[in-house]
């Protein structure tokens, strides 16, 4: 009796998605879901923030900037840590996709960093009385923006992709030290910026509806980041893997459609 011819077994572990060829279609399938989730969460968060949460006794309605400011600030810090993580993995495991992912995350992280600085500035003028001060919190957040921009400029400027990967990875790892500095700045030093309203070790100092709106917006920003990063990484993968057969096949399929 003839033995059944069977296809070579594809690895069933999650690690198969470390291959650009496997991650590309996965990112394409998942991104729309995260985009939908982001849109729904943003709608809910904004509705909570503007129509359910009351005004603030001290600041009045200008406090409502918090619903975008905190989400953006948290994402700007989180995304840079994720970039540092993938840079570390890439340097240790020599996986191309880790570096590509790091580079796909940067523009969105930079965008949120800028939003945090700008909304913070507009919030600061009517409350503190200044658009900007050089206290530890604001200064370290501005430094984060420079790190993002430096990362993006450097990885674009270096011709050889492998060298660009490593140079970017160094900026991501070194710069990541700044993130805990941003977070603890209000605790370690005297700052104009107030301390954390939400933290893991003490009760929140916000009314419940305010807190809920803020957390929902943070989740919306997280889902948005995943969607945009997954879409962006697909372009980066096509570029990096353009000499492979599977990309040739993908380009065939896209010809005439784009």
């Amino acid at each position: 009796m003839m033995k059944d011819m069977h296809k070579p077994e594809r690895s069933k572990s999650l690690f198969r998605f470390a291959a650009p060829q496997m991650f590309y279609p996965l990112a394409g399938r998942l991104a729309p879901w995260f985009a939908g989730i982001a849109a729904i969460l943003a709608a809910i968060g904004l509705w909570l923030g503007f129509f359910v949460a009351p005004t603030d006794a001290t600041q009045g309605d200008v406090y409502r900037v918090i619903y975008i400011h905190v989400a953006a600030a948290w994402m700007s810090m989180f995304v840079y840590m994720v970039m540092a993580f993938w840079s570390f993995v890439g340097l240790v495991m020599n996986t191309r996709l880790s570096f590509i992912m790091s580079q796909a995350l940067a523009p969105t992280g930079a965008m949120f960093c800028f939003v945090a600085l700008l909304t913070g500035s507009l919030w600061g003028k009517p409350t503190w009385g200044a658009y900007w001060v050089w206290d530890a919190r604001l200064t370290s957040q501005l430094l984060l923006l420079f790190l993002y921009l430096g990362f993006m400029a450097l990885t674009r400027a270096i011709e050889d992709p492998r060298r660009a990967d490593k140079a970017g990875a160094i900026i991501a790892l070194v710069g990541a030290v700044n993130v805990p500095i941003i977070y603890f700045s209000v605790k370690w030093w005297n700052t104009l910026h107030q301390g954390a309203s939400v933290s893991l070790d003490k009760a929140p100092s916000m009314a419940t509806t305010m807190l809920t709106g803020m957390l929902v917006m943070a989740l919306a920003a997280w889902a948005y980041t995943i969607a945009v990063t997954f879409w962006r990484v697909r372009s980066l993968i096509l570029e990096r893997e353009r000499h492979t057969d599977w990309v040739a096949a993908e380009l065939n399929a896209l010809e005439g459609k784009i």
Binding site: F51, T55, D61, V65, V115, L118, T119, Y224, R242
Partner: protein
């Protein structure tokens, strides 16, 4: 509901420029980012298709040259 009227909502307690300025700029940047991502994919695919056609033409040209020379 927190607002007595829609005009009170837009007025944001007198802080309209600061609040709507913040959300307005954010919306612009988000929309801008989405447009850039869509454009990047389109530009990448088009460029790679063009490169592939150029390479194929190059290979075809080389074959034509070899036919003549041989």
């Amino acid at each position: 509901m927190q607002w007595e009227s829609w005009s009170a909502f837009w007025d944001m307690g007198g802080f309209a420029p600061f609040v709507w300025g913040s959300y307005g700029v954010t919306l612009l940047l988000v929309v801008g980012e989405l447009i850039l991502v869509v454009r990047r994919r389109r530009d990448t695919v088009r460029r790679l298709l063009r490169l592939r056609r150029a390479n194929a033409a190059g290979a075809g040209g080389r074959r034509a040259f070899e036919e003549i020379v041989e």
